[in-house]
């Protein structure tokens, strides 16, 4: 049986125990005993005790078996192969997995075929173990739980404890995700920094990971591939600046107009329209940037006598700015609306015009929130991927001219990690180091934004 049908069987067993438990409790009540809880609580207790541990064991076994197989399969690799220079566990395992799946690229060495045959045997055993363990746990757990059931058994409390446990466990997923992110990025980054010094990565001025193949082929010229990330961060910075110089004025002034001047009817129409911009997928923006905006800017530049690269930072930044407008405007709208009306009334009472009130009273009061909104917008821009992948190109130029082609951190991560990777090469690992810095930057910006709000927030009451 495959894991899915085992899971169905386990659920079925649980359901049977649920019926049995409910029935026996109802029968007990019929015969005059006082139940502590409602009959279905007894059934639920039996059913949950039957299926939940079994399902949990099934999931653990299903995830764990491949890891065990991988370690076992490595025993088949002859020492001679292990001693080879370019020996990589991942490649060997992929070779074996291909044979297991029935995909054959030419003649495989005998040990690969042996390992694959053994693998198929283990897979059978593991299927058997999974089935037996899960069904056994379900039947046994349900049986033990039914034995516990007596009219005075506090089954509602027990069921609620189980539900509470499930709720609590769900909330731990968020932490597990974070740990997963940290683990997946930090370990590979550490391996990268063992190959490339941190100082070179952080302060090097050339990014050129292309010569990895030559290096592996044993040419011995370690100096060919360079991993200085400054051009990438400069590119990210440049595109973000362009994006913000579009998004901040437009977003902020629209928010001011919508919250202070616009009639409710105008607001009801314009606000959803602007939020439509936020709902457009980034890949659509990327397509728009690459096929409409970039050629337009290029031909416009040519008419003005400027040399605009066909994948200019300006095109990517401009479109990214459009994407961020609703983000800035809705966040600013919220903070402007949070400024109490009493402040405005006081300013009007002193004779100020509406714009004077906004400029001298409302905006200063809303400033911390607006600064936080801008910081969050920066973090958005830095982490944005598809627009830059499609429109900004891959040329790692160190330039602050928005008409040049630049590349960004996210664009490099995607290019390096999409498709076939060279296993464990410095090039692949560099993407993880870039991702680590990206996470640090975005979380840092977020943290600063929160601190700004916390520190300068005025409590109006």
């Amino acid at each position: 049986m495959n894991s899915f049908s085992v899971a169905l069987a386990v659920l079925l067993i649980g359901f049977v125990y649920f019926i049995l438990g409910t029935r026996s409790a109802a029968a007990a009540r019929q015969s005059g005993s006082r139940l502590h809880s409602l009959p279905h609580h007894y059934g639920l207790y039996a059913g949950m005790m039957a299926s939940l541990p079994a399902l949990f064991a099934l999931v653990v076994l299903a995830i764990g078996d491949d890891i065990v197989f991988n370690t076992l399969a490595l025993d088949f690799v002859p020492d001679a192969v292990k001693a080879e220079d370019n020996y990589k566990e991942v490649i060997v395992l992929a070779q074996i997995a291909n044979v297991v799946a029935g995909i054959n690229f030419g003649e495989q060495p005998q040990w690969v075929n042996d390992a694959a045959a053994a693998w198929l045997g283990w897979a059978d055993t593991s299927r058997l173990i999974k089935t037996m363990v899960a069904i056994g746990l379900a039947a046994g757990g349900g049986f033990l739980a039914t034995r516990q059931l007596a009219p005075d058994f506090r089954s509602r409390n027990a069921v609620e404890r189980i539900i509470m446990f499930i709720l609590g466990a769900s909330s731990v997923i968020a932490i597990l995700t974070t740990i997963g992110i940290v683990f997946s990025v930090v370990f590979e980054s550490m391996r990268f920094f063992a190959l490339v010094p941190v100082s070179e990565f952080l302060f090097g001025l050339t990014w050129n990971p292309q010569f990895e193949g030559a290096e592996r082929a044993g040419s011995g010229q370690m100096g060919l591939a360079t991993y200085g990330s400054v051009p990438l961060f400069a590119g990210t910075f440049l595109i973000s600046i362009v994006a913000l110089s579009v998004a901040v004025p437009v977003g902020l002034f629209s928010a001011i107009y919508l919250s202070e001047y616009a009639s409710p009817r105008v607001r009801a129409v314009v606000k959803p329209l602007m939020e439509l911009l936020a709902g457009v997928p980034t890949v659509v923006y990327g397509f728009f940037a690459a096929l409409t905006v970039a050629p337009f800017l290029r031909s416009a530049g040519m008419n003005l006598g400027l040399d605009v690269a066909s994948e200019s930072a300006l095109a990517a930044g401009l479109v990214m700015g459009i994407m961020i407008i609703p983000f800035v405007s809705s966040l600013s709208d919220d903070v402007i609306n949070a400024v109490p009306q009493a402040l405005r009334d006081a300013a009007y009472g002193l004779g100020s015009t509406q714009s004077e009130t906004i400029r001298m009273v409302v905006l200063p009061a809303a400033l911390p929130g607006i600064v936080a909104a801008i910081l969050l917008a920066v973090s958005r821009a830095v982490g944005e991927t598809m627009i830059v992948v499609m429109a900004a190109g891959l040329a790692a130029n160190l330039s602050l001219n928005p008409l040049d082609a630049v590349t960004t951190v996210t664009a490099q991560i995607v290019t390096i990690l999409v498709g076939d990777q060279e296993f464990e090469s410095a090039k692949t690992l560099s993407a993880f180091a870039l991702a680590l810095t990206l996470i640090v930057i975005t979380l840092g910006l977020n943290f600063i934004a929160l601190q700004v709000v916390k520190k300068y927030r005025e409590a109006y009451d």
């Binding site: 997946s184 629209s254 979380l443």
Partner: protein, 443 residues
């Protein structure tokens, strides 16, 4: 507000006491300039909104103007003689026999007849008019209705994408022959087909029912659409229960201690992590450590679920918080346990808000591209995925891949695919707004 009491009126200098007359004169003198500044400031706001809306209009206009033609393509009608012995040499109508048969020959013969093409170069030119998908279509017609074998049928086939571009006028006759992808002979044949009324411009069934293809005229979004639906259902099945459970726990039951505080900070931070990082998580953990295969909707769904979880949790918590305490008090007062109060009263009342958040999260997931690129859903896969463990791709990734192809027709098909994607996203968001408006109770 004591610190604001001494705020000066704008425009007046606080140079000591001033008689009312002087003050009034100063105000009167400055009022014109102040009104002008007021108008200017207000116009900044209008201009900003105008710019934002103009961007919206340009974006949609550019996509729709390219995309609407993408829903159509040119077809040619041919009288095909379906010779039984040639098309089905084994005579058992099996797929193998049909593939061994000469479907291409039958179509070519009909094409030569319609165009009057003769000679080696003429036939070669005529052959390029029709799509490579025509043979497949002929075989399918034979399988659907074997009785047409042995007769002559009038059949409709798509034309090649270059011919399609020519018919749309993207390839000009005035371009020198060497510079265009269609030579003069082909143009002559195409003109003849047009004159015979054999060419029609019709709704593109390939776009809706076709799968990934390198031939622009045969490419369609069906495979990617199925992949999107599979991925999204995995995402929904995981993210909705987990998100609601987390929200319920944190809002109602969690003790206020260090651990819960860490969880809350964590959720807020996860909402700020760039989506591409979730792709790296999927690549390193699910593919790297757990050894799961690449390109499958299962992993895509899990990654997107982790990504949308913060959105769902945050909106579900807001929905739970909006349920007034009187509901809880009433339930507790008649003897319900805290869990019963929660599950029987608070959660059902908060459900519209939770659903709204979930739909918005799902819309986010449907439009997401970058994390799926990381886990290899960018592979070129012709087969439509049948389950969550078959390799597949999704709509946004399909759009990303097509955007890279140079053929003119791909630009239109990409825009058409974008229109389909946007239609889904907008209707999901509209559904969320509808649920919020109709079902959410104001207390």
């Amino acid at each position: 507000m004591t610190d604001r009491q001494d705020m000066t009126t704008p425009g007046a200098k606080s140079d000591g006491m001033m008689s009312p007359d002087v003050a009034a004169r100063r105000v009167a003198a400055s009022i014109g300039g102040r009104r002008q500044r007021e108008r200017r400031f207000k116009s900044y706001g209008l201009i900003a909104i105008g710019i934002a809306l103009a961007f919206l209009v340009i974006l949609f206009a550019s996509i729709f103007s390219k995309g609407i033609p993408g829903f159509f393509q040119h077809y040619v009608t041919l009288e095909v003689t379906l010779d039984r012995a040639k098309l089905d040499p084994a005579g058992d109508l099996s797929l193998q026999s049909l593939y061994d048969g000469d479907a291409r020959g039958a179509i070519r013969a009909a094409l030569y007849e319609a165009t009057g093409a003769s000679g080696r170069s003429g036939r070669k030119a005529a052959g390029k008019i029709i799509s490579q998908g025509a043979e497949q279509r002929l075989r399918k017609a034979v399988i659907d209705d074997p009785s047409i074998l042995g007769t002559t049928q009038s059949m409709v086939f798509a034309v090649d994408d270059d011919v399609d571009s020519f018919l749309r006028g993207f390839i000009s006759r005035d371009t020198p022959e060497a510079d265009r992808r269609i030579n003069d002979k082909m143009i002559g044949y195409i003109d003849q087909l047009v004159a015979d009324n054999r060419i029609e411009y019709a709704f593109s069934d390939y776009l809706i029912f076709g799968s990934a293809s390198r031939n622009a005229e045969m490419a369609g979004i069906f495979g990617a659409f199925v992949g999107s639906m599979l991925t999204l259902s995995v995402c929904l099945v995981l993210a909705f229960p987990l998100g609601v459970a987390t929200a319920v726990y944190l809002e109602e039951f969690a003790p206020k201690n260090r651990l819960t505080e860490i969880i809350e900070i964590n959720i807020n931070n996860l909402a700020a992590v760039p989506s591409v990082v979730f792709g790296i998580l999927g690549l390193a953990i699910f593919i790297g450590i757990f050894g799961m295969p690449r390109s499958i909707p299962l992993i895509g769904g899990v990654v997107l679920a982790l990504m949308t979880l913060p959105t769902i949790i945050i909106s579900s918590r807001a929905a739970i918080r909006a349920v007034p305490p009187s509901i809880r008090d009433a339930a507790l007062g008649v003897g319900a346990s805290r869990m019963q109060t929660m599950l029987h009263h608070v959660v059902p009342l908060a459900m519209p808000g939770m659903l709204t958040g979930t739909i918005i999260g799902m819309a986010q997931a449907l439009g997401e591209t970058a994390p799926l690129l990381m886990i290899g859903m960018v592979a070129f896969i012709v087969d439509v995925p049948g389950s969550v463990t078959d390799p597949g791709t999704v709509l946004p990734v399909q759009i990303f891949m097509w955007a890279d192809f140079a053929e003119r027709m791909f630009v239109q098909k990409t825009s058409a695919a974008i229109i389909v994607l946007l239609a889904f996203l907008i209707s999901m968001n509209a559904a969320a707004i509808f649920i919020r408006k109709k079902l959410e109770r104001r207390w």
